[in-house]
């Protein structure tokens, strides 16, 4: 049975305009994300996967980037809507976490302040309610001693803890979609697995749909139901995890799969 369609991207093209010669980085990108689904977006650096993700989150500068196509979220086109409409969706309906947990948090603001921020922007919660929610969120991302972390600053936490904080902050308004842009790339292997588990838990408990961007196919295989492979700005292959891993059609996909270290494949 088909779940409700949440996000539909049609013919997204992204062009850079900050150089003399405009440069296209994403061509005819299509994506469908259904309720509760986890879709993986894989490809090497520069393949356009992060650009597509940032475009969906509404984070590409409107001045330097020219975008064509449609990004339909619950019927509204995020590319052509008013900034105020987009802002009401950002952080509220669509959350995003990034590759660099070390620099993605504001160094001079307390963790609690940053985790609560989306609530402050999108809800009328009182200070006390926000505090309660923030503590719950910090606990649900499996951070010990949430009350203490609430009062700490980013530099006092490790990379893995900061990525958990980022997830807590992105999830606090219970967004329908979480975009995870290479969330594990900057972390140790053991921490990577924990973060992937955490994303699974968020998906299971809160029914959040996840767009998981990574160049690590073994993580994608653990987490995702469907996979899209990007190369040079094009989506070259789309399919379920089984299809992609068992019968890859494109030469490029085969190479990516071959690049997974053997030890990992055996253990799977």
């Amino acid at each position: 049975m088909e779940k409700e369609l949440l996000l539909q991207v049609k013919d997204l093209n992204i062009e850079f305009h900050d150089h003399l010669i405009p440069e296209t980085v994403v061509y005819d990108f299509d994506l469908e994300l259904r309720e509760g689904e986890i879709v993986g977006l894989v490809g090497e650096s520069g393949s356009g996967k992060s650009m597509s993700a940032l475009a969906i989150a509404g984070l590409l500068s409107r001045r330097d980037m020219k975008k064509r196509g449609q990004i339909l979220f619950e019927g509204r086109d995020l590319l052509s809507c008013e900034r105020d409409v987009l802002r009401k969706i950002q952080g509220n309906e669509i959350g995003i976490i990034f590759q660099e947990p070390m620099t993605s948090l504001n160094p001079v603001r307390r963790i609690g302040w940053q985790v609560e921020e989306a609530l402050r922007i999108h809800t009328d919660f009182s200070k006390e309610e926000r505090y309660q929610r923030a503590i719950e969120m910090l606990q649900s991302v499996e951070l010990e001693d949430a009350e203490r972390i609430y009062r700490q600053y980013p530099h006092e936490l490790s990379g893995g803890m900061r990525q958990r904080v980022m997830i807590a902050a992105a999830m606090i308004c219970n967004p329908k979609i979480l975009i995870a842009d290479e969330p594990t790339t900057a972390l140790d292997v053991t921490i990577q697995a924990q973060i992937v588990e955490l994303l699974k838990k968020m998906n299971r408990e809160k029914k959040t749909s996840i767009l998981f961007i990574s160049h690590d196919l073994s993580l994608v295989r653990q987490l995702c139901q469907r996979v899209m492979v990007m190369q040079g700005g094009y989506v070259v292959e789309t399919g379920s995890v089984q299809e992609i891993f068992d019968v890859p059609k494109m030469e490029y996909t085969k190479k990516l799969i071959a690049a997974i270290p053997k030890v990992v494949r055996k253990s799977n």
Binding site: F98, N106, E117, Y153
Partner: protein
Amino acid sequence: MKYVGKKLLTMILTLFAVTLFVFLAFHVISGDPATSMLGTEATPARISALREELGLNDPVLVQYGRWAVNFLKGDMGTSYSYRMPVGDMVSDKIPVTMTLTILAFFMMVIIAIPLGIYTARHAGGVVDRTIYIINQVIMAVPPFFSGILITLLFGRIFKLFTPGAYVSYEKDFLGFVGYLLFPALAIALPKAAMAVKLLRSSVIGESKLDYVRTAYSRGNRTRDVLYLHVLKNALIPVVTFLGMALADMIAGSIIIEQVFSIPGLGRILLTSISNRDYPVVLAVIVCIAVLVLVVNMVVDLIYGLIDPRISVE
């Protein structure tokens, strides 16, 4: 508490180093207090008698030790030229220079912060480019010259104040502050120009960092990203600069006090140096050094408040 104690100790050591340095400097420069007190016509016998009386024939370190012990007892000595206690001479000059410096500091902040933010937000625009040119000019003009220009413009043309008609703070405090506004502006302008440039580039630099993208991803307005996220980070280097500028202003007011005929520490310092009136010079230097050290300590404390990565301990 431990921090404050440590800072106080450093302050005292710095004061001793500064005063010792000044003492040694007196013995290197030419000129003799006894001669300048008695005039060039005085007989060598009288001069050497006076030198003996003032203790100028003792070794330098003995003289310094005597001065330091008296200073610790609260006695800063007697002025050679005015024959009156140095404490009395200096104490009523301190409020003048402090008011001038504080006014200049607030002017710098009031000019620099809004302009820095504005030019960063509208970087490349007409206002930004105009301010850039004005800044370059102001930074190139030394305060004494801008002081003369301000006298000409506000004193002679607009007649907002009467140049040279200093109002004593004991008689008319508002009139006193009103008069000091113009010299304060002369001191504040070049520093404000630098602070505008620094804040502008700091805001622009911070705006490119990852946490700003995170802030936008939560649905923040551009204004809120600037005021709630970027500004506090961007102010860190600016606070350092403002602190250095304030210390510099205390010293810089010496020249401006000459231009605007203000009887502050700067004027008394220059007169007493040319009279070789060492006790007065030392007292003024101690005052200026204490002010600068206190300012530095306050800046360190503020720094710790806005940047959690810096622990004051």
